[in-house]
Every structure is written in C-alpha cells, then in structure tokens.
C-alpha cells in the first residue's frame, strides 16, 4: 500500500474500457497463434535437450578443468532453459492449444524438485489469481519476508537479507517447501493431515530422484571425474537457482510495484483485475537473449495480464501494453536487470527494519470498492 494510489485518476468506466482493450490484444494473438509458434517451442525443447546431453557428455571428462568449465556452463544454461522458457510456460498451459500430449500442462514434468502438479496449484492458481494481495498471495515475501511498509514488523525480519540469500541459493527447495505450505502445515495437527502427507511424499520422491540423478548417477558414470562432475552439477543447480530467484524477484519486488489489501479485491471486475496485474508487476529491459534466458518473465507485466499466451509473443504484446500504460497515465515499472535486482534487494534490506506507519492507509480506489 503506497501512500498515494497511482490509479486514483481513473474512473470505473475507464478501468472497464482498459479491460476491453486488453482483451482485444489477447484475442488478436490467439487468432494469429499457429505453426510458427509451435515450431518455436519444439525448437527450444529440442535445443535444450541437445545442450543438456552434450554438457553432461563433456562432464564425463570434467577431471580436465576446461571440460569442467564448458560442461558446467552448458548444464547451467540447459537447466535455466528447462526451468524458465520451457517448464514455467508449459505448466501455465501456454502450449496446450497445440494438443500435443508431450508438450502439455497436464503431462509436463520439469528438472526441478517441486512436482509440477503442486507448483501449478500454488503458482498458477494462488499467485496468478491473487497477485500481490497481502495474505492471499504467498509469493509476496514467500512467507519469510516483509515486503511492504504496512506489514507488521517482527524481530525475525532483521535476518531477512540472509533468508533471502539462502532462498536464492537453494531456490528450488524453497519453492518445493513453499508449495507444500510448510509454514502453516508444520503444526502437529496439520502434519498428520493425509492430504498434506501425500503431497509431502510426492515432494520427497521428486527430491530423491533429482538428487540421485545429479549427485550420484551422473558422477558415478563419470568414473574418475566423480568429484568434478558432482561439483559441476551442484554449481549448475546453484547458478540456475540464483538466476531464477533474481529474475523472479524482479517481477514483483522492485520499488514502484503496488501491493493490495485483502478487502480491495472483493467484487473485483475484470478491468480491475487487469489493473491490479499491471500495477503489481515489473519488467526487465534488455536484449533478446536476456528475454529468452528469463523465459520471457522479463515481460512479467504482460505475463501477468495474459499468463496463457505463448511466451514468444510477449515481446510484441509488450509494445501494445505499454501504449495502454501511457494512455491511462500509469507507471510501467521496468529497467535493466542489475537495476531491478538492486531495487528488489534494497527493499528487502529496508524492510528488515521497522518503519513508521504510512500516513494515508487506504488508496482511493480501494475505498471506493469497499463502499460499493
């Protein structure tokens, strides 16, 4: 909750009109979606698999330092591709329209310790529906951090720069724990809940498989290169974790991004939902390669408006979306990666300390909604 509501100048009619204009952008892409898009995702998947195979092949000889470097770099990139442009986007159903059962949100499993099924629930359903609503969207601080002035400060938050750093290093485990909602499920009563136990078991199975593959089987296959291969896979996972954590932090944490109160979404219209996505997300500017390596989550604003449009279309959609931001005099939060990462981390540090209560508590739009 910022002191001043940046959407206060919009009337209810304007917000609905904005919603219709965004719907039109979406319809245009859907009508035009076709062969080229399908070829794109197939090419990316094929390239990722080849890169992973080659990198793991090179790592068989990782006892030689140049092989270690090349293999580790390749495997890091392959894991980032699998996680971001491929896994995240397929699991959003962005490619379901192809009706290819091998590239489908209901069948895809990624190289990540969080089982796809659980991640889809906490990410697609909770985070994307309740984007930036305090108490509803657990992505806000992942339940371990304070990310807004209005959240109550607790001495625990003094350590949040450290929690955030550790979360970055072991991000995939953080996500798995987060999908299990460990925070609220660890009480004695909840722990015994059979539904929770089944989910915890599924995570356990996935972790076992992932760890066995990365830290036992592949090192063993490397024979004399056992230790270097082990170090290489650990490094690749670390690189992937820190990279994805950084990209994701840039999506909702930088300064200028709005958060919302629980009651502000009561009776929310389609236009208002769109507006919340616009104000609650932030982009990363950069080259084509940059967009690709972030899985096009650099277009976080567009992704949040249209989570099921194919990721390769976000760049062209962004031009139109940005024009709407200008038209309705809204701030399009974007910047290069280092700037956005710094901004997000700055907030983590700043909010680890207590602050004065902001003067204006409820932005106008919310008051209007509560009254309505």
């Amino acid at each position: 909750m910022t002191a001043i509501d940046p959407t206060a100048h919009l009337t209810a009619e304007q917000i609905e009109e904005l919603g219709r204009e965004l719907d039109a952008i979406r319809d245009e892409v859907i009508a035009d979606r076709g062969e080229k898009d399908a070829a794109y995702i197939r090419k990316v998947i094929s390239a990722q698999r080849k890169l992973e195979l080659v990198s793991r092949g090179v790592l068989l000889f990782s006892i030689f330092p140049p092989a270690w470097l090349i293999g580790t770099a390749g495997l890091s990139v392959a894991k980032i591709m699998d996680n971001m442009e491929i896994g995240h986007n397929i699991l959003h159903g962005q490619w379901d329209w192809m009706r290819d059962p091998k590239i489908h949100s209901t069948t895809w499993e990624w190289d990540h310790v969080s089982p796809s099924e659980q991640w889809k629930h906490s990410h697609n359903e909770l985070h994307h529906t309740y984007t930036n609503v305090i108490g509803k969207d657990n992505d806000l601080g992942y339940g371990i951090m304070r990310v807004d002035e209005d959240q109550r400060w607790h001495p625990f938050h003094l350590g949040q720069p450290l929690w955030n750093f550790l979360n970055a290093c072991f991000f995939e485990y953080g996500i798995a724990a987060y999908d299990l909602e460990l925070g609220r499920n660890l009480s004695k009563r909840r722990r015994k809940n059979p539904e929770f136990r089944a989910r915890a078991k599924a995570v356990g199975r996935k972790i076992r498989k992932q760890v066995l593959k990365d830290y036992v089987i592949h090192p063993l296959l490397s024979g004399p290169s056992f230790l270097p291969t082990l170090a290489a896979t650990f490094t690749a996972n670390l690189v992937r974790n820190i990279w994805t954590h950084s990209v994701i932090m840039c999506g909702h944490f930088p300064e200028g991004v709005q958060v919302f109160e629980r009651r502000s979404i009561k009776g929310e219209t389609r236009g208002q939902w769109y507006l919340r996505q616009m104000m609650g997300s932030a982009n990363i500017s950069g080259s084509k390669a940059m967009h690709f390596m972030t899985g096009n989550l650099s277009h976080q604003i567009e992704h949040h408006l249209f989570p099921d449009l194919p990721s390769n279309r976000y760049a062209e959609v962004a031009v139109k979306v940005r024009a709407l931001f200008d038209k309705y005099e809204l701030e399009y939060v974007t910047g290069p990666l280092p700037k956005q990462v710094f901004s997000a981390w700055h907030k983590v540090f700043r909010l680890s300390l207590p602050n004065k209560k902001p003067k204006v508590k409820t932005p106008d739009r919310e008051r209007e909604l509560v009254a309505a």
Binding site: D37, R49, R99, S105, K209, I217, P307
Partner: protein, 336 residues
C-alpha cells in the same frame, strides 16, 4: 533415473523418431495428386507399424497451423509393398482442415502421428467368388486397397462421382477393366443424377448373390442397407461410414458427466464447472477465470463454447477443455 524427469526415449526421439519402441509415427515421403481435390500421401511408418489388411483405415495426427488434429483415412496401398511404405488417399472436403492441409500443403519430410491400422471393412480370409463394390466419391479408397491387394475372379464395381475427372484412380481402374480383372460402371452424378438403388437389378442382375462392400456418403449407404434388408440378404452387405455424425452446435444443451454417470441440462452461458458442481459432480477447479489451467478435463463428445472468445471447440481424441470458461454448445460429454 539417468534422465529423470524425462525418459531416455525423449532424447532418442531427437535423433530417431521412427525407431522401434518409439511412439508410432510416420514420415510423409511424397504427395501425388490424383484429381483436382484428391492426393495420395506416401508414408514411411515407424518400426512399430504392425501392417494392415486391405480395406482398413488408419488414424493419423497431423499438425495443422500448430494444432494436432486426428483423422481417419483408408489405406490404399497393397499389403505387400516391398519398400515398407503405405499410402492413404485423401479428398479435400470443403472447410476440411486436415484434408485440405494434406492435399494442398503437406510437405515431404513432415512427421505425423500414427495409430495402428484398424477396421473390419475387409475381405474375408476365404475369398468370395463373386464380389460387388458399391462406392461413391472418396468411398473408393478402402476398396482400392482391396483391388490392389487381392484378385477376385468375378468383381463388379459401381462407382459414383460428379464428373469423369473426379474419379479417383480412374486410369488404374480402367487398366483393370482392360485386363478383364474388373467390370466397372461409372455413374457421373452431375449428368446422370444420383445412383438410384432400384437400378441395381439392371446394372448387376446377380447383385443379391454377391458379397458386397459399400462405402460412400450416408445417403447411399442408408439406401443400400434398406435395399439389401428388403431382399433378405443384409448379411451379404458390408458398409463403412467415414463420418460418424456431424456435431450439432447450439446454445446450451444436455451435458453428460460420463465418469460419474450424471446428465443435466445446461444453458449456453453457465460454465461447465458450475454446471458440474451444481449436479454434485466432483470437478477439479482453480482460479475460475481461465488462467490457471487447473480445471482442464477431456471433452469426449459434442461441442463447447469458450465464454471469453466465443470460439467453439469440438470433441476429438485428446481434446481437453477449461471447464471454468467453457459452456455447452449443444449436447456434450465431459469425462468427470
């Protein structure tokens, strides 16, 4: 464990998609035009192909504009083709997405998905002495598979097509006639009108003694079935229908939740998710606004309308719909 979460086959598919043990696929090797709107597609099937019997059809999955669509086509190649290739012959039907794609745009080198051949529209093991083939339009395709595969001593064919140049395989048929392997009557419906089944007596006086294989539009097959039944020789008639039925689309309709055995009436504006929950069916759900894909469910038959775009989706194998933003567009069957 080596490749988790993928399977080793996911990697092998990169280099050898037609190998033994892979999901069954085929590669289009050539497309030969037959008539103005029909073409024969030469396919090299993967190693898992089990072979077919003349007259059978195969379901193929083709990506048209990036969307995988499945259709069934009769196999027209003989069963003993040396090079292991098989052919289907496709007639482009108006607005037919797959048929037009295959006839006009399919390129050699393209991979397609295949099912094993199937169908019981085939000649019996013991070849009958006298045979009648009653065909129209692309109904000739399964019969062509039979003609190319097995010689019958006394074979008669009545084939209907709008004009002579619309007759698929015309020169090959005439060659068979020249070799006295077939007696053929062509009915050109643009000039002669539709075949009147009552003319059978005149065209093939001993039709009732012949084992008959009929394939063509529903009108022809209905008339044939009636005629053969009337004369008490229905068991001699074998028919094959290409299209099971046209999907009726409308506004709302009767919704069947086949897994739970419930049927309810739904209007054209209520999401199927709500319809199901109202009826006490256990429905998976998520965001309820079409963004999380937590509610996708197989559409087994019928059609639904996307409430956001108005787009109609018809049931096909493998089609999943988002129940939270789809409403009944006519009768439909949801697998819940």
């Amino acid at each position: 464990m080596v490749t988790t979460p993928l399977l080793p086959s996911d990697y092998l598919d990169l280099v050898s998609p037609l190998r033994a043990g892979a999901d069954l696929r085929g590669r289009i090797e050539a497309v030969h035009p037959e008539t103005g709107d029909a073409a024969t597609i030469v396919i090299r099937p993967g190693r898992g192909w089990r072979g077919h019997t003349a007259g059978q059809y195969v379901r193929i999955g083709v990506d048209v504009d990036g969307v995988r669509l499945w259709r069934a086509y009769s196999l027209t190649s003989p069963t003993d083709r040396r090079d292991g290739r098989v052919t289907i012959t496709v007639k482009a039907i108006p607005d037919g997405k797959v048929s037009n794609h295959l006839v006009r745009r399919a390129k050699p080198g393209t991979l397609i998905q295949l099912d094993q051949p199937t169908g019981d529209f085939v000649l019996p093991q013991a070849k009958p002495a006298k045979v009648l083939y009653l065909t129209a339009g692309s109904g000739i395709t399964p019969v062509m598979g039979m003609l190319r595969d097995s010689e019958i001593d006394d074979a008669v064919m009545i084939h209907s097509a709008p004009q002579p140049h619309d007759v698929i395989f015309r020169s090959e048929l005439h060659a068979l006639v020249a070799d006295e392997k077939l007696r053929l009557t062509e009915v050109h419906t643009d000039t002669d009108g539709m075949l009147d089944i009552a003319r059978l007596d005149e065209l093939v006086p001993d039709w009732a003694e012949r084992e008959t294989w009929a394939c063509g539009p529903a009108g022809l097959l209905d008339a044939a079935e009636e005629h053969w039944t009337e004369h008490g020789v229905r068991e001699r008639l074998h028919t094959e229908r290409f299209r099971a039925g046209i999907v009726v689309t409308g506004d709302g309709g009767e919704v069947t939740f086949s897994a739970s055995g419930k049927t309810v009436d739904a209007d054209g504006a209520t999401p199927l998710l709500d319809v199901g929950e109202e009826a006490g069916v256990l429905m998976p759900s998520g965001c309820r606004m079409g963004i999380c894909f937590g509610c996708v469910t197989p559409l087994k038959s019928g059609a639904v309308r996307d409430l956001r775009t108005g787009k109609i989706t018809e049931a096909e194998p493998g089609v999943l719909i988002q129940t939270c933003v789809s409403a009944a567009a006519g009768p439909c069957d949801i697998e819940r």
